[in-house]
Amino acid sequence: MAMKGLVKQVGDALWELSPTFQDGMNVPVRIYATPGLLEAMDEGVFQQAANVACLPGIVGYSYCMPDGHRGYGFPIGGVAAFNTRDGVISPGGIGFDINCGMRLVATSLTWDEVEPCLEKLVDLLFERIPAGVGGSGLLSISRNTFRDLLEGGMAWCWKHGYAWDEDLRRTEEGGCMTGADASTVSEKAVERGYKQVGTLGSGNHYLEVQVAKPENIADEETARALGIDRPNQVLLMLHTGSRGFGHQVATDYLQRFILVMNSEYGLGIRDRELAAAPFHSPEGQDYFAAMQCAVNMAFANRQLILYRIREVFAELFGKAPEELGLHQIYDVTHNTAKVERHRVEGHEMELLVHRKGATRAFAPGMSDIPPEYATVGQPVIIGGSMETGSYLLVGAESGAPTYYTTAHGSGRTMGRRQAKRTYKGADIQNKMRSRGIYVRAKSMSGLAEEAGGAYKSIDEVVDAAEAGGLSRKVVRLVPVGNVKG
């Protein structure tokens, strides 16, 4: 019987796969989705979420968010929390692109003011922000300085004049995970990463110019509290991560975990990409410290790109970035593992929460939210396809069951190869131009892979997250310009 047929609806936009589905499951699987999204999900999602449910120390449920699709080991959109006493840490539950994440930046400009120079703006951003395969970044630093950056994250950027005070405050973890220890990072990872700070990358990474149209604002009061306070305001959305550095950290530790997980710790897993080690083992702690280095590298990467964005706007509009209102709204990661305290079955527990293609969405009043957002909740930035649009959401109190976690994007419905055969990059570029979206891309085939038709409906994903109580809509943002790697 198809696995999809075994899930039972247990709430609004919530489905459950019983632990009897497969031997060894420690907890049930719960999937947040509309009936349509559930139907469209790859069967592999259910199997992968069930495999995650077998990992030692998992508590509550093995979750999948509405944008879930089959990944490597964990599904993309997978959320799993492990008791820190006897649970595990798994690089596959975080992803290769550690701290792949989103940053949203406001401007005080309206579409009327930007439209006449949109092409010039996008061209300048395309020229000044390195993108594509490989690529050197905006910083020329030594390997030792890079190690300092790995431990300091955005604090390093602030110290060297690349960040405003408020940038740090408006970033998850303040832009620096303090457990980062550069001595746990291989020379290879350093060699691979020290030239890449301030690069966009390729694939689904992008920098987008967007507009908040009045008709797309779902909650005006919250939008105003987050800095969206005028009709047709122009914003910038950035999606990138820790580049080759994070991938090297993940690769190094996957290899290390594979060699010890059975022989040292007797961990039986169902997919080598779920390679894991006890959280408090030497290997687990080393990976956690190295992972935090990659988290900090990604925060710094996005910060350096913001620094360059501010330079470009100042040059084009002849005003200081402060005058142009280039305030960061928020920066949030969607590939991490973090130690947090949550209630599980009535008991508060210290948990290691893995979020892979899933976004933390803290509710109003919770700690680690900027004071100016305390009453509205943590901003959540959900990137859609380059053709369709994106969302700014906030966390909600009803998100407690998923450790306050929601979706991260649209989720693919079509493989990259199929997308390339279905679409042509130049056609996509022309079609988008005719719809008022100006795109510059390093790779035309890469552009075809990112066609809107290759992704799920972002609206349905966000609706499912809201129906499931995971997050609340604030504004839908429409693209007008896009820089792609």
Partner: protein, 183 residues
Amino acid sequence: MPHRILGDETTYDAAFEAWAGDLTALFRECWDVTLSFLVENPEEIRSDAREVVTLESDSVELLLFEFLGELLYRKDAEERVYRLGQLELDGGSAPAPDSTPVTDGVGPGQDGRVDAEESSAGVGEPGVRAGRGASYRLEAEIVGETLDPERHCYGVDVKAVTLYAFTVELRDDGWFARVVLDT
């Protein structure tokens, strides 16, 4: 050398299967396919730089994993893209007498699906090991040049080899590999 790109039936970033009569040819094929994701015109890569990569492992799977990973690492660290020159691989023309079979339970993929997670058995350390005390040793000459967006038609930036469904195995008709790449 045959290979098949997987993609229509999955949402993976980049994945392929490859077949060859011996391990040396299999490793070569696997890099050639990986390179074709990175650069759409690999035949344009010049031979400006020449290096030798030497790797050893007691697992042929980990050796291929490390080999592909090494060349991807050099793409970022050296900002160079490489083709393969001479390639020598010792210790793996056939499984050693006490070899351990691949434990993934991954089927032959007749329908092209990558279905490691459908295995009902637990999986562990990589399979197809060299005999006790023995190892696989690879020495590869790599030739290439600095990445140049003006001449190299970029595809997608492959950044890692995943262990998901990763397979190297000797079948009746020769060596087989399945590789899923992260981009």
